[in-house]
């Protein structure tokens, strides 16, 4: 069969990384208008959640909600209608640590909230409660390849199901002793609102295809460190070109030897 190109238009972007609290501040650094200053990631309080869920919202939930809402607002999209793809290299690391610690103790009576927060789709569940979105919601993990995996399924929904889809790729840290085994340093993530048709709000068109080429890297060593240490930020070479309004083909890390070529054409 003739393959259908995996093409979508980007209408909105959400972004959080250490020292980069939103997409506008990331754009300023990508365009070399400001320098990247070392700082911990800032996670906004998810005011969209009802009070009970807001109290239970962990760092990873705050992160996913913040980037998703930023991208949707950027695109002026109706969040209650969006299909969503959540992709993360792990779930809530702090919650996982607390559960494992208690299950290794004499008192194994874990809290029900800890248990339901342990599922990989906790952020997706909170998103649904917050937005009332009943559209399909996919929750993916591919370890360091999680951004590419999420992008592939989001494009599948856009191209095959002709569905406007919000991709949220994000990662959060584990505390010790798991941190020594998996050293994601802080929270970071990107959200892309992807549409099947070009609209007045479209910023760029992307077409993704497999390749065995070597992934692009960031010339700024601090940004390169973020790219390699926070899996969702394997997207940085694409985001930098998008911020600069440049056209071109970017190779992103996925599952070596399979990498993803992204043909980016600004609108």
């Amino acid at each position: 069969m003739t393959p259908t190109p995996l093409t979508a238009w980007i209408e909105g972007v959400g972004f959080i990384a250490p020292g980069l609290p939103d997409w506008a501040s990331a754009c300023a650094v990508f365009c070399e208008k400001t320098a990247l200053t070392a700082a911990a990631s800032i996670l906004p309080v998810p005011s969209i959640l009802p009070p009970a869920e807001r109290r239970r919202a962990s760092r990873v939930v705050k992160l996913a909600l913040a980037i998703g809402l930023e991208a949707a607002a950027h695109a002026e999209a109706d969040i209650s209608t969006l299909a969503t793809v959540f992709s993360a290299s792990g779930a809530d690391g702090h919650n996982c640590h607390a559960l494992c610690e208690q299950l290794a103790s004499d008192d194994r009576q874990i809290s029900p909230t800890r248990f339901h927060n342990s599922v990989h789709n906790a952020a997706a569940g909170y998103w649904g409660i917050a937005t009332k979105a009943m559209a399909p919601c996919q929750v993916i993990c591919a370890y360091d390849a999680s951004f590419g995996a999420g992008l592939l399924d989001a494009l599948g929904q856009v191209v095959i199901d002709q569905q406007i889809t919000l991709l949220m790729a994000y990662d959060s840290e584990y505390p010790e002793p798991l941190y020594s085994k998996r050293n994601v340093p802080d929270c970071g993530g990107v959200a892309l609102l992807l549409t099947p048709e070009k609209t007045a709000r479209s910023q760029a068109r992307i077409t993704v295809s497999p390749t065995s080429a070597t992934a692009d890297t960031m010339t700024n060593p601090e940004l390169e460190k973020l790219r390699t240490r926070i899996p969702a930020l394997r997207s940085l070479p694409l985001l930098q070109k998008l911020a600069r309004g440049e056209a071109g083909i970017i190779c992103l890390d996925y599952l070596p030897p399979m990498q993803l070529n992204v043909d980016l054409q600004p609108c």
Binding site: A104, V119, Q138, C141, M258
Partner: protein, 397 residues
């Protein structure tokens, strides 16, 4: 959607290893549940444990993946000649043209639970031989399977709690439709661990007896484990008679509560309706429904309302969790394979342990297995966080 062929499939549950054991168990109305004696777990509940999981030895080159979940995965892959059929497909299409899409809710978390008992008393460090990436991480099962077959194509884990391995069929179908791949290994594996056993107990969702789906006295789930796989390929124009096809997928979100279903089953109804639309079928075309039917009071009441709203009491239906236990992230795939067996053998599976049906749920519920013509079957899977997925399968005449 364009129909996809399940060119090979297999399932391993507490009823036994492979399809023959599952089919015989379903026909005889047998339950694989036993009082919980797993590891050091002390809970008054029953579980569906797969025999001889820990006797499974991974190949030396894949030793880093060694954990209960991947042992169960290998046991499942090697049943019914499934691995051989996968290798034949790889030879046909190439190692970059076969994708891997697998569901799990807890992956190899048991490995981390055990490692936390062996922390260094001074530093608190985890033992040196504990490898997070290839055991605990949600991707471990998928990466193990990809490496087991030496594949170089797309792969991802889907983890939406108890709908995980139903949703993999939808994900794989999109990539097959786009032409990125020519075949997909789909399925799910979840294995017993302390997190889920103590976790469901903390929510007071585990039953002290073998679970009784749709019974008036139902009082919770029996946690199970399982491994189920299918090889999906684009269906030829005229598949041979007796071919099992994936005809439709439907997904929705409850947007209601983290660990309780929408009381009217609204999300469930949307997922079933979407699956029927995707299959270009009407409710009257469905001959059997494999219910999610966890045997919690809330799930069965909500699902019952949703199914009754779409199908009234016209379609024979049952939950097979009284036979296998709730295999959590593997349930979607296990029960898709139950539907495949129902289609292939004209079997309407019953519901072991269910004795007195809940009279407030107006469904044509099967307590006993019997034969009956099955041309199209629908399978429901719902998960924490309000994640719903329904699949429609059919058999060519």
């Amino acid at each position: 959607m364009n129909p996809l062929l399940l060119s090979s499939y297999t399932a391993t549950t507490s009823l036994g290893h492979g399809l023959d054991a599952l089919l015989a168990g379903l026909r005889e109305g047998r339950s694989g549940l036993q009082p919980c004696a797993f590891e050091t777990v002390r809970l008054d509940t029953w579980i569906g444990e797969v025999a001889a999981v820990d006797a499974e030895k991974l190949p030396k080159s894949l030793a880093r993946y060694d954990c209960r979940n991947n042992r169960l995965a290998q046991l499942g892959l090697e049943a019914d000649g499934f691995a051989g059929r996968v290798r034949a497909a790889i030879a046909r299409y190439g190692k970059s043209r076969v994708g891997v899409f697998l569901g799990t809710s807890t992956s190899g978390i048991l490995q981390t639970e055990l490692a936390y008992r062996q922390r260094d008393p001074a530093s608190g460090a985890l033992p040196d031989d504990f490898v997070y990436r290839t055991t605990h991480n949600f991707f471990s099962l998928t990466e193990f399977t990809r490496d087991y077959f030496g594949l170089e194509g797309p792969a991802m884990a889907i983890s939406t709690a108890c709908s995980s391995s139903a949703k993999v069929f939808a994900v794989a179908a999109r990539q097959l439709a786009s032409g990125l791949i020519d075949a997909a290994i789909v399925g799910g594996v979840d294995s017993l661990c302390l997190t889920t056993l103590y976790g469901f107990a903390s929510l007071q969702l585990t039953s002290p007896t073998p679970c009784r789906p749709y019974d008036i006295a139902r009082d919770g789930i029996s946690v199970g484990e399982g491994a189920a796989f299918a090889l999906l390929e684009r269906a030829p124009d005229k598949p041979p008679a007796g071919s099992i096809l994936l005809l439709g997928t439907g997904e929705s979100s409850d947007a209601y509560h983290m660990s309780a279903p929408h009381p009217e089953g609204l999300g469930a109804k949307m997922a079933m309706a979407a699956a029927l639309r995707s299959a270009h079928l009407n409710a009257a075309d469905i001959d059997y429904i494999n219910l999610h039917g966890t045997a919690t009071p809330a799930n069965d009441a909500a699902e019952g309302k949703a199914v009754a709203a779409l199908f009234a009491d016209q379609v024979p239906c049952s939950s097979t969790k009284g036979a296998t236990g709730h295999t959590l992230g593997a349930a979607g795939a296990v029960e898709a394979i139950v539907c495949a067996l129902a289609l292939q053998h004209d079997l309407l599976p019953g519901s072991p342990n269910t004795e007195n049906l809940d009279p407030t749920i107006p469904l044509q519920y099967l307590t006993q297995s019997r034969s009956g013509k099955v041309r199209h079957a629908l399978s429901n899977s719902f998960g924490f966080g309000g994640s719903n997925c329904s699949l429609v399968l059919g058999v060519t005449q």
